[in-house]
Symmetry: C2
Subunit: 190 residues, 2 copies
């Protein structure tokens, strides 16, 4: 992929995140690259291609981040690492993450179905951590692991709305983890 083509994808990610897919015109994209809108079609076949590309890049980034989490070791550590991994992607590729979380739904046809499947698979990998933790007894045996996974996924999926790009997200992930693990009950709360 040529450098120019990559610039186009970057601009698409930025503009789709900022103004939304339908709020971004082909003219906007062309202007971001300093060219005429017709010239874009030397690089793409349609505007929808760009959405698909950015959304796919997001899916790949989140899956790759999760791949970096070891498959064994204490579950609590792996949950912490998974949160760290996800939030790191959000902070380092905020535009792509935003498209992955919010703009993907404007995909159409097979691409939409393929994306949804990848997204479901990602969430399932996340959920498995909590289920395994309960089954192995590393988490409370009466844990509602589905709710726990949902809570964790909500936290990281919402992060794109407020996280500043380039932030140091590990401490944040650790605070989330600590809260999920220990809860917030007072030492002498009934």
């Amino acid at each position: 992929m040529s450098a120019r083509r990559n610039e186009l994808t970057r601009a698409a990610a930025r503009l789709f995140a900022e103004k939304g897919y339908h709020g971004t015109s082909v003219g906007d994209l062309a202007e971001a690259l300093g060219m005429q809108k017709g010239s874009l079609y030397s690089h793409i076949e349609s505007k929808a291609d760009l959405l698909w590309e950015v959304a796919s890049e997001g899916a790949a980034a989140f899956h790759a981040a999760l791949d970096g989490v070891p498959e064994d070791g204490p579950v609590l550590d792996r949950i912490r690492d998974a949160l760290r991994a996800h939030l790191r992607v959000v902070a380092e590729q905020l535009d792509v993450a935003t498209v992955f979380v919010r703009e993907w739904r404007y995909l159409e046809g097979e691409r939409r179905e393929a994306f949804v499947a990848e997204r479901r698979r990602y969430e399932e990998r996340f959920r498995a951590l909590f289920r395994e933790g309960r089954e192995l007894g590393e988490l409370r045996t009466d844990l509602d692991d589905g709710t726990a996974a949902l809570l964790a996924l909500s936290a990281v999926n919402w992060a794109y709305t407020w996280l500043r790009p380039g932030s140091d997200t590990d401490p944040l992930a650790d605070r989330f983890t600590a809260l999920l693990v220990d809860g917030m009950r007072g030492y002498n709360t009934p």
Copy 2:
């Protein structure tokens, strides 16, 4: 406000939630009411008016729900009630909640600023619960209340993406609360 005018607002909420603000045309709105698109302008001055109206309705609904939470009593109960209240609005007015959470950003000018202020105020009311809980000693005194509030807000703000309209949300809110309060640590986890 006439019945017809109210139908228009309902259709706007539904379509904005389903297809996005920029993905919904005035023609789509007219079709939903079985009229010509020009006829809509007997009721509104612009498409942007509808977005403002739905977004404002969402803000009012969430604030009103929080108003129903007592100002005293055990903080844990009030946090549970706040989660219940929020999720109830999401389940009962999913379209409006979706616009409140996701589509508001296409508001422009003063309306956007006014909405952001209302949204910030809502989140602050939420945060205050956790801060107060820590200060009163009903939550752990070393609690990171900002993170706790963020986790709770993330959970409820993300709910519009998966919650089925009309669900019984109180048990769900209670599961969230229980997890936030007690955590998921195993009884003999180091």
